[in-house]
Structure formats: C-alpha cells, structure tokens
C-alpha cells in the first residue's frame, strides 16, 4: 500500500506525460487540468494508505 505514495511523483515529475494543450476541459488546456486533477487524486491515495495502516498505540 505504501507504494501508492510514489504514484503522484511519477504522474507529476515525468513531464512528457502532460506537456500539451489538447484535450482541453472547460477551457483549461490539458497541462493545467491534468495537474489540478492530481490534487484530489493524491489526497485519495494518501487516504487509502492511511486507512490500510495499523493505528498508533499512542494517541
């Protein structure tokens, strides 16, 4: 599960994945909405890892 934390690094640091304008969404070129989309995706991935881990014994 912890490997999920590496996914945003791959998705965002390999720039050739998204360095173009089409397809656009709501007027946003791909370059922009792709990166903005990674914000909720990253939160979701971190949440999945959070859920899967064993809770601390301390608070």
């Amino acid at each position: 599960m912890w490997m999920l934390l590496l996914v945003p690094f791959i998705g965002l640091l390999w720039v050739p994945f998204y360095n173009f304008t089409e397809p656009s969404l709501f007027g946003f070129p791909f370059f922009y909405w792709y990166q903005l989309a990674w914000v909720p995706i990253s939160s979701l991935l971190i949440w999945l890892v959070y859920r899967s881990r064993t809770p601390d014994e301390a608070p």
């Binding site: 590496l6 370059f31 903005l36 990253s42």
Partner: protein, 498 residues
C-alpha cells in the same frame, strides 16, 4: 492608479487589520497555558493543536502572502514554467505523510522543539546541531523579508506612500507575537485563510465570467506569449521540462525542512493529526493552482503593470468594486502576518535551544528559554524590517532562493536518522558543507539562477541546483561515513531510537 488614496478599500483594510490585532493579543488567553513559563507554550502553543488548528496554521504559513503575489507574477511573466509550484505542493504531501509523523514522535518523546534538537538527539554532535540551526535561521530571514514585500505591494496599491504603514504593521505584529507566541498566528490563521478562500473563489468565478470564460483567458495568454517569444508559453519548452520537474521535487523536499513549517508540525497534538493533515492540506494546493491562473486573467483583462509583482493587486483593483478590493488586499496583508510570525518564532526557537542553551547558558530554566525566545523574535523581525527598508528588494529575492537551496542541505541530517542509524555525524556535516558550498557557488556563477547544467553524451541538461547539491551532499555523507567507519569502528554516540 496608485496616485490617490483609495478610501473605501483602505477603510476595509484598516478594519480587518484592527480585528486581527485584537485577536493577536487575545490569543494569549486562548487554549490557556502559562505562555512565559515554558518554551513549549510560547514557541509551540503548548503542543496541543488538533486537526483544524494545524490545518489552518500550516496552510497559513506554508502558502504565504508572497505566494499569492509571486506565483501569479511568475505565471504572468513566463507561463507554464511558473506552474511548478503546483506539482511541488502536491508531491510534498505523500512525503509529509510518510516522514513527518516519525519526526513528530521523535520530538515529542524527547521534548525537542526544533529540527536541530532532533538532530542533536540522534547524533549527539554539537557541530551538526549548529549547522542545522544556523541554516534554518539564515534561510528564514529573507523569507520573512519577502512577506513584507507582499504586504507593501498591496498597501502601495491602496495609495499609501512611504514606509511608515509597513513599519507600523510590523511593530504591531512583533508585539503580539512577543506576548502570545505561536497562539497568535494560529488564531489569526483562521481569519486569514477564510478571507483568502473567499477572495480566490470569488476571483476564479467572477473574473472569467467578466472576461468571457476560461477559454478566452487561456487564449489571451497564448497570444501574449506568442508575441513575447522566448521561453514562455502555455506549455513547457523541451529545455524547461527537467528544470520544471527538478524544481518541483527539490522544493517539495525542502518545504518541511524550514523552521516555520516544522514549528507547525511540532506544535500539533499527535502523529495522527499530521497524517490527517497530509490528506486535508492539498485543499490549499487547489487554491494555489487557481491563484496562479490570475496571472493569465491579467492578459485577458488587458492589465498593464510596471513589474509582474503588481499583477494581482492591479487585477483586483480593475475588476472588483472598491470594498471587495480592500477585502482582498487585507487578506493578502494578513496573509503576510501569519507566516512572518511563525517564521520569527521558528528562528527564535532555534536560537534559544541550539545557540543560547548550547553555548551561552546550558543551565537555563524553562522560563528563561521562553524569555530568550521572545526577545529573539523581536530582533529577528526588526532585522527583516531593516533588510527591506535599507537593502534593494532584489537581495531578499536572491537570498530567499539561496535559502531554499541551503535548507534542502539539512534534509539528510534531519530525515535519514528517522529511518537508519548508518550515517555518521561527521559524514552528514561534511555533506552539508559540500552541498551548501557547491550549490551557492554554482548558483552565484549563473547569475543567481536556480539552475545548473550538466553535459551527458553530448547533450546539456538543466536542473535545479539545490537538488544537484543534495545528491552531492548524500554521496559525500555516505563516502565519509564509510571512511570514518574504517578509521574508528566503534561508535561513541549510539542511543536507542524512540
């Protein structure tokens, strides 16, 4: 536009400034504790901040006022390249989730207040402790100065001339930070962040509606960049891809090495508070991405500015009624107060714990620590103010850039020890020194640009100099660790990990 005083905007501004000033002083009684009796109280707010306070506090001091001014300014000036702040502030959170709870546990178990405390606790090396402490203090100073720049840009837009308003604002800030400690920015962060959210959400809905939609905004920016030429545009030029990715990665690794962000981490109630915040803090990143687009909206609105830093204030003034422009300017100015306060507290904690206590008065009491830190926070703020008043603005920008490079060099000393005890203090200290010297020298040689180039197989690649320095730092640390291990196999300083 800045020739006459904007009375409506100014009145709104003064109202909100007065409100947060009262809150700043009142904060001393909030979540009550004996502020002056212990550095944990003044400098870490009592180590009791839960999920929401931490969310507002870290959000408020990581996404600074200067960000609101500078990111759209860079996007306005160069286009896609300025967007590196977005991947940077996304990938920082998986890192925070994985590493910062461990750091918090270490600090909590041993009563550590600063990064340098943690490093000393792990390696028992005064030299390494001092290196981390000084790097933190030096990197923070120009950062505080930048917050002042963010504030003065908005004050000037409202037609106030001279340095007096900024001096007055900063003295008020210094006084309530002195009396309330970290509780003041934590409480003010609620107001600041809610105001910024309102401003940005209104801006990203209203402004494109007035201008004809996002398609028009991007098209206007595209035309402007086509006319401008060079390394600008709605997407990256091939030569910009590696700089973009390496700046994002290097900045993400450096972000939570700063004293102000770490203060937010250490002040939280539990490791779980930090984990949940790693999930929730990206909401600010979404906001930042939308703020960045203000730079393109300026093209669609046909705003002409003297310097890119004026883009956001000029855009608000042109498109919003006076009272809402005043509200937006207050949000930005108050947005400068929160990080400036937390930064000065972080620097004061470092000075108190790792310089004063380590070298001047090792027998200092808890109340004595709080007293030294309070005085130091005043000195730090006056220093930043003098910096802005007496030195060219460009110095602050250049030093902040170098500061990011320097603070990144404390990464191995602070983070590696959480996972392995293999590295030795001697190696980490030498790696730190080599990283700082090589990085500064390279940046200096390139006219203080954050990029270095390397030739591989006939092609030249540009990358973020801080990341290059970090790699060199780690290599040196590893080599020296091996060599020292051969010379003296017995470690003198091993303690059980908590």
């Amino acid at each position: 536009m800045a020739n006459q005083i904007e009375w409506v905007a100014l009145s709104v501004f003064v109202f909100f400034f007065a409100l947060v000033t009262v809150m700043g002083f009142f904060a001393a009684r909030w979540k009550s504790g004996p502020i002056s009796a212990h550095l944990d109280q003044w400098g870490l707010g009592g180590r009791q901040f839960g999920i929401w306070v931490t969310w507002f506090l870290v959000g408020g001091d990581f996404y600074t006022a200067y960000t609101v001014i500078a990111v759209p300014a860079l996007v306005y000036a160069v286009g896609a390249y300025g967007f590196f702040a977005l991947p940077y502030t996304i990938i920082v959170y998986p890192f925070v989730f994985a590493v910062m709870p461990l750091l918090w546990k270490q600090a909590h178990a041993n009563g550590h207040v600063t990064a340098a405390d943690v490093v000393h606790g792990t390696y028992h090396s005064r030299g390494l402790e001092l290196a981390v402490a000084i790097t933190g203090m030096v990197a923070t100073m120009p950062y505080i100065a930048l917050q002042l720049i963010g504030m003065s840009v908005t004050i000037k837009t409202m037609g106030l001339k001279g340095d007096l308003p900024i001096i007055a604002a900063f003295i008020i800030l210094a006084l309530y930070t002195y009396s309330s400690g970290l509780r003041a920015p934590a409480l003010i962060a609620f107001v600041k962040d809610i105001m910024i959210y309102i401003v940005v959400l209104v801006a990203v809905v209203v402004v494109p509606a007035k201008l004809g939609g996002y398609g028009v905004v991007f098209a206007a920016a595209n035309d402007a960049f086509a006319a401008k030429g060079g390394l600008t545009g709605l997407t990256l030029k091939p030569s910009q891809m590696l700089p973009y990715a390496s700046l994002a990665l290097g900045s993400a690794l450096a972000a939570f090495m700063y004293p102000h962000t770490l203060t937010g981490i250490f002040a939280s109630k539990s490791a779980d508070t930090i984990r949940k915040n790693a999930i929730l803090l990206p909401a600010y990143t979404l906001l930042l991405g939308l703020i960045a687009l203000l730079g393109y909206m300026a093209y669609a609105a046909k705003i002409a500015v003297a310097t890119p830093n004026d883009v956001v204030p000029a855009l608000f003034q042109a498109l919003f009624p006076s009272w809402f422009a005043g509200f937006a300017f207050s949000a930005i100015a108050i947005g400068a107060l929160v990080p400036a306060a937390v930064m000065s507290i972080g620097a004061a904690n470092l000075f108190t714990r790792n310089v004063w206590k380590s070298y001047v008065n090792p027998a200092i009491s808890h109340a004595g620590e709080a007293a030294v830190a309070k005085i130091t926070s005043l000195v730090v703020k006056l220093g930043a103010l003098a910096f802005i008043l007496f030195l060219p603005t460009q110095y602050a920008l250049d030093l902040q850039l170098l500061g990011g490079l320097w603070i990144l060099q404390t990464f191995p000393a602070l983070v590696f020890g959480l996972f392995t005890r293999w590295f030795r203090a001697e190696g980490l200290l030498l790696g730190w020194a080599v990283g700082i010297i090589w990085g500064s020298w390279t940046a200096w040689g390139n006219g203080l640009k954050p990029l270095a180039s390397i030739d591989l197989g006939g092609a030249s690649y540009m990358f973020y100099v801080g990341l290059g320095a970090l790699i060199l730092n780690v290599v040196v640390a590893a080599v020296v660790t091996v060599i020292v291990g051969l010379i003296s196999p017995n470690r003198t300083s091993v303690t059980a990990r908590s």
